[in-house]
């Protein structure tokens, strides 16, 4: 129970910081808007083609946008040695991780909520499959990205070149999740195949890696 309070305290702190600065969300939003425009120039898609590629583009945009924000999410803690204070605090390291990952989930979800109508308009989309399933795919996929991303961004604090380190590690580890979210989204948008298998894969991936992150985060925090 005390663990839940610690998580909520971390989450509240993250949300307040973001509310005051609005660095992460503004940055991600503008970045993803730019990528949407650039992609539409690169492919010049028709309605039929865009339905097939929109799933892939959507997740690539979110992956890149999330990476830029995740890189910043721990540097905040370095200012004024906040991280050192966190390490000495009697709360568990997993609570710190979970609070930050949940905050990042909320930030990326906020971006998705703005991005969804933009995507629909710019790429002339409407789902031919069961559109409501996107309500399961989006949070599961986002969590897969931010949980591992938050973890590896913290691991990146232990390296010299952290902006490079995060994509270097996050992308290969996330390949199964990326495959699952892109396939599920495309299946829903085109209505040609069943997204069930990919949803299950995403769920398993989330469970496995969330457990792993929670178990190993203490090691990252006390790596030296």
């Amino acid at each position: 129970m005390i663990f839940v309070w610690h998580v909520l305290a971390h989450l509240r702190k993250e949300l307040r910081l973001e509310w005051r600065s609005r660095d992460a969300i503004t940055g991600m939003l503008f970045f993803s808007l730019l990528v949407v425009v650039v992609f539409s120039f690169a492919f010049d898609p028709t309605a039929l083609v865009s339905r097939q590629i929109a799933g892939g583009i959507l997740w690539m945009v979110l992956l890149f946008a999330a990476t830029t924000a995740l890189n910043q999410s721990w540097t905040r803690e370095l200012r004024n040695h906040v991280l050192d204070a966190q390490r000495m605090a009697p709360s568990s390291a997993a609570a710190l991780f979970l609070g930050k990952a949940l905050a990042n989930l909320l930030f990326v979800t906020a971006v998705e909520l703005v991005l969804a109508p933009i995507f629909t308009v710019f790429y002339n989309l409407h789902a031919l499959g069961q559109g409501w399933l996107l309500l399961a795919v989006m949070p599961l996929g986002t969590w897969a990205l931010v949980a591992n991303g938050t973890f590896f961004a913290a691991l990146g604090l232990r390296t010299r070149n952290r902006e490079l380190m995060l994509p270097l590690v996050l992308f290969p580890i996330s390949i199964p999740a990326l495959l699952a979210m892109v396939q599920a989204t495309t299946a829903i948008l085109t209505g040609e195949s069943d997204p069930g298998l990919w949803l299950r894969l995403l769920l398993v991936y989330d469970l496995v890696f969330t457990t792993l992150c929670l178990l190993l985060f203490d090691l990252v925090l006390h790596a030296d």
Partner: protein
């Protein structure tokens, strides 16, 4: 700074008495490996019959498949050594350093074998399929394995001295858990979209077994040799690191080694 580094020093025997036994064993192992490699080469090139469908091009199989098999064996060494490191880190730092040396040695050997496998596979693909690369399930999984280990080694390189082993070990655990998920997801992906190339396994003709088995044995021995060699090298590097730290901590030595950073690989 003094306190920071003092915590991390793990004393090893400063100068081990010269022990010739590992060297003799290594040279004997090298000689035996060379004999096996020669026999394997002879069997594969001169004795085994040409492949019924592919002719002499099929002979690359004797190098390609053993490398693929060994490229899948050495990641286990890396994983178990990394888990051992994480377990021993606080309990027995000396043994943990040994485990870490095994982990990095195994990761580099893995990269050597997967690279050989990918390269020989592409050569074969160009000759038989007419294309260098196909996004087939097996090729894609192996490429991802290769990418994961490249990421592992680069991260180790970029990490802050003193934390390299922990960062590496955590990443190794992630990679080990990711590999089976990658494997299955790509299987599903590629069975849903039939690939342009055949994926089925042909059966091996009995006349080809000797060449194949000799090569598996020979390359396994070679893999163990470079693994042990790399391990010994890493142990020396660890010793050197520690003597550099000790020298930096010695007040009498202050400023004696300008520009030499403790914990830096050199």
């Amino acid at each position: 700074m003094f306190l920071r580094f003092r915590d991390k020093i793990i004393l090893m025997p400063p100068t081990a008495p010269p022990n010739r036994r590992p060297l003799t064993l290594g040279i004997a192992w090298l000689a035996l490996t060379l004999v096996f490699l020669v026999i394997g080469f002879r069997e594969a090139i001169f004795i085994a019959p040409p492949d019924a469908a592919q002719g002499n091009v099929g002979r690359i199989f004797y190098w390609h498949v053993p490398s693929a098999m060994l490229g899948l064996v050495f990641p286990y060494v890396n994983f178990f050594a990394s888990v051992a490191f994480l377990y021993l880190r606080r309990r027995n730092p000396h043994a943990a350093l040994t485990a870490d040396a095994w982990a990095i040695a195994a990761a580099e050997v893995t990269l050597v074998f997967t690279s050989i496998c990918l390269a020989t596979g592409m050569l074969w693909g160009k000759a038989v399929w007419g294309i260098w690369w196909a996004w087939d399930a097996r090729l894609t999984s192996l490429l991802l394995l290769w990418l994961l280990y490249v990421a592992y080694l680069i991260t180790r390189r970029l990490s802050t001295p003193g934390q390299t082993s922990t960062v590496g070990a955590i990443l190794a655990v992630f990679a080990a858990i990711d590999v089976p998920i990658v494997y299955f997801s790509i299987q599903w992906f590629r069975t849903q979209h039939p690939s342009p190339v055949f994926g089925g396994d042909g059966s091996l003709d009995p006349t080809m077994y000797p060449a194949f088995l000799w090569n598996v044995a020979a390359w396994l021995m070679w893999g163990i040799l470079i693994l042990a060699f790399r391990f010994a090298l890493e142990r020396r590097r660890q010793r050197l690191d520690q003597s550099a730290i000790l020298a930096a901590l010695n007040p009498a030595n202050d400023g004696a080694n300008p520009g030499m950073e403790p914990g830096h690989a050199f």
